[in-house]
Amino acid sequence: MTKFKGILPILLAVVLIFVFTACGQSKDSGQINLMTWGGDFIPREIIDEFESETGIKVNYKEVTSNEDMQSLLEANPDQYDLAVVTDYMVDILRQNGMLEVLDQSKLSNFSNINPVYQGNYYDENNEYSIPYAVSTSFLLVNPEAIADLGADPITGYSDLWQEELKDSIVVVDWSVEVMGIVLKSLGYEYNETDPEIVEEAKQKLFELADNIMRFETNTPEDSLINREAVVGFMYSNQAVKGKKADDKLEPVFPREGMPIFIDSFVMSKQAPNKDKAYTFLNFILQPEIAARIADITKFTTPNKAAEEYVSEEYKNNPMLNIPDEVAENTSFYINVADVLEMYEHIYSEFKMR
């Protein structure tokens, strides 16, 4: 024991200082509790600005998935005011009766939202959700490397099956998305449940096995940057990052169409600070603020009025400033339980071969 005597008190002392500086938080002008993905999903500088402007403190609970948010919200609906969840989760939460019907009269800035992103299946009448960030997934390719391999240029999903692309594709690691690629390449739609079509897709998927070198959800763009892969199917914010790190990479919006994700603000039915939550929503909906958020987060802003305030970089980037004809060719994953189950099993079989 003696041998530790020197280290121990110092360690303890340092650590205790931390422990006892813990307590004591001021709560003057009230607060709101917000829950969503961390990092700069809702940029801190925007939140700081809101706090100093209104004196309302924002508690930002960071989570890693939509389902975590659902669990947390359903366990303690009276602890959270706002959450940002993805489209399908809006649908689940509203059907489970967790969401507050938003009072449009308190949302002076809602009209800023682009009608294209309103009235979708998960909230037909814009009662429960306010679109915050839009993202898509598409292909990021390295045209030079593809030519070097002797493969044809890639314009859509069906080009991914070329033999020359052996071991050179990286895809997002999620059964629904990978099945989506296959279904689209066969000319079907997402969320297909017809057993015959699903079986056909399964066979087609198995043919893709040799071409996929890696399944990666969080940093697929890295594989293109370090030249492990020549094509990647990834989310738009990742593709933007990849393109920025390596100008040789080019986005390809598959001609078959692509998935779209709309992350939206929702309010808990039992939100403890509803009025302040509306203040926050109105703040976020301001065009200048929305534009800055889009520039920081690299997500497309659903805020139509923000478009005149965004940076040149954003304006000239088709991955962010999605052209209308591309935007029309997008669809949602509905993530219905039966679909998930079927796809997950096929996906497991695919990987375990």
């Binding site: 059964s175 492990e228 998930l340 189950e341």
Partner: protein, 281 residues
């Protein structure tokens, strides 16, 4: 009555753990017999469907795969960790604590980052490949990522301190006089190790193996990042089913399967160890 008095101090601890772990465990078992609706909400309708599903050949392969990974992780940490622990006990007492501290320190930083550390090392443009190319040892970068072996290295790296510390505790308290006696009888260093030290440290090995084997069944992001997500392990599957797969009853059935698997391993171990009078659990 005397027995009760003798056991009384243990009761609070048993209640604490049984309550906080036993309850979730019951929850998992009950959940595994329930169904869920199209939104993924749990429906209180009894079904055996989930268990039928985990006996699907595809999912059985997942079990096998995870079992192999966990056993190999246990063996590798043992092979590498045992000498580390053993040699550490041979150091001067003052150095010993320092070495143990050095072993534990890296584990105070995020495991996610440490996994990224391996990617930085082993990647196609990673440090090792850059070094080898600079020195003209290889022409083309070596392909070290996204293999089963990479996952194994990552897993062993994450869990090795548990093995080392467990073995260390068990070697350290070893009765030195036994070892001396063996030397006095003319046994070689190697023979002494095999006949005295190793058998006496089996509880440490078993403890370390348990502490490595069980968590390695549940780890998920290591195989995603280092193995390139090319195969599925139990930890990944359960995690996916709970979150994006929104099939908690099935995830619960897999969890029960995993627990049964571990209990089976412990049971077999206990049987074997009992014959040698070394039963730990």
């Amino acid at each position: 009555m005397k027995k009760l008095k003798q056991n009384a101090p243990a009761i609070p601890i048993l209640i604490w753990i049984s309550l906080l772990v036993g309850m979730p465990l019951m929850f998992v078992v009950v959940l595994s017999f329930l169904s869920r609706d199209s939104l993924g909400n749990i429906v209180f309708r009894f079904t055996l469907e989930n268990y039928k599903r985990i006996f699907d050949p595809v999912y059985l392969r997942v079990f096998l795969n995870s079992f192999i990974l966990a056993v190999l992780t246990g063996l590798i940490t043992l092979l590498i960790g045992y000498p580390v622990a053993y040699f550490t006990t041979k150091l001067q007492p003052k150095k010993r604590s320092f070495v143990i501290m050095l072993i534990i320190l890296p584990f105070w930083i995020s495991s996610l980052l440490r996994t990224y550390g391996w990617i930085i090392l082993l990647g196609k443009t990673g440090l090792i490949n850059s070094l080898l190319m600079q020195l003209n040892i290889v022409k083309e970068p070596l392909n070290m990522m996204y293999r089963f072996g990479t996952t194994l290295v990552g897993m062993a790296y994450m869990l090795i301190p548990f093995m080392i510390i467990a073995v260390y505790n068990s070697v350290d308290k070893l009765d030195k006089s036994l070892v001396e006696a063996s030397y006095d009888l003319g046994a070689s260093r190697w023979k002494t190790f095999l006949n005295i030290t190793l058998p006496l440290t089996i509880p440490g090995i078993a403890g370390g193996f348990t502490l490595v084997f069980i968590p390695s069944l549940g780890m998920f992001f290591v195989s995603d990042l280092l193995g390139g997500g090319r195969t599925i392990f139990l930890g990944n599957l359960i995690n996916t089913l709970v979150t994006r797969g929104r099939n908690r009853p099935l995830a619960a059935a897999f969890s029960v399967g995993m627990i049964v698997l571990v209990l089976l391993v412990l049971f077999i171990y206990n049987r074997v160890a009992k014959d040698k009078g070394e039963g730990l659990f």
